[in-house]
Structure formats: structure tokens, C-alpha cells
């Protein structure tokens, strides 16, 4: 979707605010929000792409005014409601509904080290033909899907060169909507800064964007 999360190339966002000796979490609740989001993902009722899309649905004014982990919590609550892990009455009362099942947590402390060590790989062994090869000139498609996509607006319609083929990966545009993984090649595509931004850009600069096969067409 053409949302405000797609920030590349926007002006007027102000100076970058660095913080010396920044803590990992600024308040204890940020750590809890982070960890709950991780832990609830282990129910496998949604996926990483779906959770990103959920956060993209936050209205623009709130996207900018809320903090990072506030957006995580907003997204998590909605995902849990959709997956029927919690009900609206439970969210209102703060207590389990009468007769609600008490489950056994999907992620227990003993499983945390393995989760962190293994991660959730998105690369697939599927034998899928690559439509493009390193060195080939390509154009990023000019698509404007209303659903989730990882093709940033600033690259759409632009000419680039395939730098390398990363292999076959899950496709977020379908996976986020539970329409299948549609595994396909992902390439690093190099765009000259001047192709993206015009003459104002430095002629030595470039931006490398990771692109799924479906985002590209031969140039």
C-alpha cells in the first residue's frame, strides 16, 4: 500500500535525533511489548509479513505521533483479535471471558534460546527459475498494490542493474495476506542515485534495493 511507512525520499522529517548511551528499551513496557509480539508470533496464526502490514494500516497521523513500540502493540492487538486468540470483550474487561479456554503458552522460556538461534528463515529450497541474472538491466515495475508490498515507491518505474541473486524467498505481497508463500528469486538491484533522484544526486552514489522477481521486468 502507498502508506506513510514508505518513507524513502520524503522531505521535512526533521533532524536525526541521536542519543548517547541509548538503552535497548527506554521503559520496561517497551521490552514487554517487544517480547509479547515475539512470543505471540509463535502461535503461527500470522506471519512476519502480516504483522508488518498490520502496522502499515495505522493511520498516518498516528503513525508519526506514536512511538515504535506503541505501533507494535496496536498491530499485535489487531492480529490477536483477527486470529480469535482474544475477544473484544476480553480487551474491554482485561479478564478472560467466562469459560474461555486456558491454553499452554506457545513459547516457554526453555524454547527462547532455540528461537533466537534458529530464527525464522524466509529462504526456500523450492526450485524456481530465475527470470533475471546478475549484470542484467531491469526496470522496477510501476505497481501500486493496495495490499502489502516491499517495493518502495521511490524505485518504481526506475532502471537498475541486477547486482546479485540472493536465492529463493517467501513473497511478502501474497504471504502477508495468507495467499501462499509464492517463493521466488530475490535480487539486489543497483540503482544509480541520479536515476532515482535526478541531477541533484551525486553521480558516484547508488542505492541497492532487494527486489523480488515479480517486482521486475526486463529493460
Amino acid at each position: 500500500m502507498n502508506g506513510v511507512h514508505d518513507l524513502g525520499g520524503m522531505h521535512g522529517m526533521g533532524p536525526i535525533q541521536q542519543e548517547v548511551n541509548e538503552p535497548v528499551f527506554h521503559q520496561p513496557w517497551e521490552g514487554r511489548a517487544y517480547a509479547m509480539t515475539r512470543a505471540m508470533g509463535l502461535w503461527r496464526l500470522w506471519n512476519l509479513d502480516a504483522s508488518r502490514f498490520q502496522r502499515e494500516l495505522i493511520a498516518p497521523v498516528d503513525y508519526f505521533r506514536t512511538s515504535y513500540y506503541e505501533r507494535w502493540i496496536a498491530g499485535l492487538v489487531e492480529l490477536m483479535l483477527k486470529a480469535k486468540l482474544v475477544t473484544r470483550t476480553e480487551m474491554d474487561s482485561g479478564r478472560p471471558d467466562e469459560g474461555a479456554a486456558v491454553r499452554t503458552p506457545a513459547l516457554t522460556a526453555d524454547k527462547v534460546p532455540a528461537l533466537i538461534a534458529k530464527g525464522v528463515p524466509a529462504r526456500r529450497d523450492a526450485k524456481v527459475a530465475a527470470s533475471f541474472r546478475a549484470g542484467q538491466r531491469v526496470r522496477a515495475r510501476n505497481i501500486n498494490p493496495v495490499g502489502h508490498t516491499r517495493l518502495p515507491r521511490y524505485a518504481r518505474g526506475k532502471l537498475g542493474t541486477v547486482d546479485r541473486d540472493h536465492g529463493v524467498f517467501v513473497f511478502p505481497d501474497t504471504n502477508a495476506h495468507f495467499l501462499g508463500e509464492t517463493p521466488q528469486h530475490v535480487y539486489s538491484v543497483r540503482f544509480d542515485a541520479r536515476e532515482l533522484w535526478g541531477e541533484q544526486a551525486n553521480r558516484r552514489d547508488s542505492v541497492y534495493v532487494d527486489m523480488w522477481d515479480a517486482y521486475l521486468e526486463p529493460a
Binding site: H5, G8, M13, Q27, W29, T66, P152
Partner: protein, 243 residues
Amino acid sequence: MTATRRDLLTAALTAAGAAVTPDLTRAQEHEHEHEHGHDHDQDHQAVPSDPALRVKALESLLVAKGLVDRAALDALIDTYEHRVGPRNGARVVARAWTDPAYKQRLLSDPDAALAELGYGGLQGEHMVVVENTPQVHNLVVCTLCSCYPWPVLGLPPVWYKSAPYRSRAVIDPRGVLREFGLELPENVELRVWDSTAELRYLVLPERPAGSDGWTEETLAARVTRDAMIGVAKIAIASKGDQA
């Protein structure tokens, strides 16, 4: 927190289609303030921020439903507060500086090379390492969200996730570097890596001049998080540093 702030947060959840939880929040307020009183002896009347209340209430509900295990949450937080952070990446960089064969493996097969030092997994399943040289400087961003190589750098700083950095890193990377105090010479090529897929990027900074003969540990101590994102270089070493 002011009423304005409360309304705003309510609006944020509504906009996301999520259930608004004012009752949930109020239901937990007493409990929270009670516990809070033991931790902080300053102003007891200070109302904790709304997100703190909401998150605490949400955790209580999820625990009551058996959906999350508090000990698992503690373990996750502990991992990223105390075990996984930029020291990991610094160790990788120092190894690459002192062991040319390792550096080659790191650049050509980063997942295997990082695994040699015990690093990999969550949000670093598929790594790419890009090398800074006198001719080429690399900068990493995620314009769409906050993708970052957790196993080697930990969780990202707020500025990395913020709109100012994400918007400008691709259109004005030299301006961004200047803001971090780094004036990149005109004749150096700048490559910006936008983490739009599940590849995660680590910058291998240039080894500082004057650090010949330093041990891996001494070198690692000089490697900064910012240098491994690409917004800084590693300071020129002075003799006193070796001690």
C-alpha cells in the same frame, strides 16, 4: 498523561482496527500504581504513561489466558538487553581485520562465517556483509520499517527506526553522514543498502590506520555500532589506545 495524549493513543488503536482498551487500562491502574510505589520513591501521584498501563494490562490478560509465559518474555528481554548487541558485530569485524581468510569467508559466505563465531538466527537468518574501502563507503537503512541485523548489532537505536533517517538515507545519504559528523570525500563512492527483503546488512568498516599489531580484543573494543551501520568511521587510533 494528559487527556489529549490518552485520546491520541485511543485513536491510534482505532485506526489500526484494534480494540480500544480504556476499561482494561483503568482496571489495571490501581495494581500498577501499587507496584510502582515500591520501585520509585519519587512522586507517587505521577500517572504512568498510557502505553505502560496498556501493555501491563495486555500482559495480564495474555498470561491469564495461557497465551504467553512471563518467564519467556523475561528471557527474550534479557537476551537483547544483556547478551546480543553490537559487541557481537565488533568481534566479527576484529576477526575479519586480523584474519584475511576469515574476512574472505565473511564476504563470500556470511552466514557460515558468522556461525563460526556463534552468531546467526532471528533477524539475521540471511546476512550480507559489505566492505568499506578507501574508494567505497556503505550505508544501511530500512526505508519501509526497521530491518536490522539483530544477531550482530542487537535491536536498532531509535534514530535508525525514525522517519528522519529512513526518509533521507536514500535521497541525501551524504547529508545524513554529515549529520553524524562524517564528511565523505567527493571521490568516494557511496552505496546505500535498503533492507527491503529478508537480507540483513552489516558494514565491515575500514581498519583504522595505526592499529598494526593490535590484538583482536583491542581492535574489537574500538568498533562502534554506528560504524557497522555505516554512519561513522572508526576513529584514527592513537598510541595511547592500545593500553
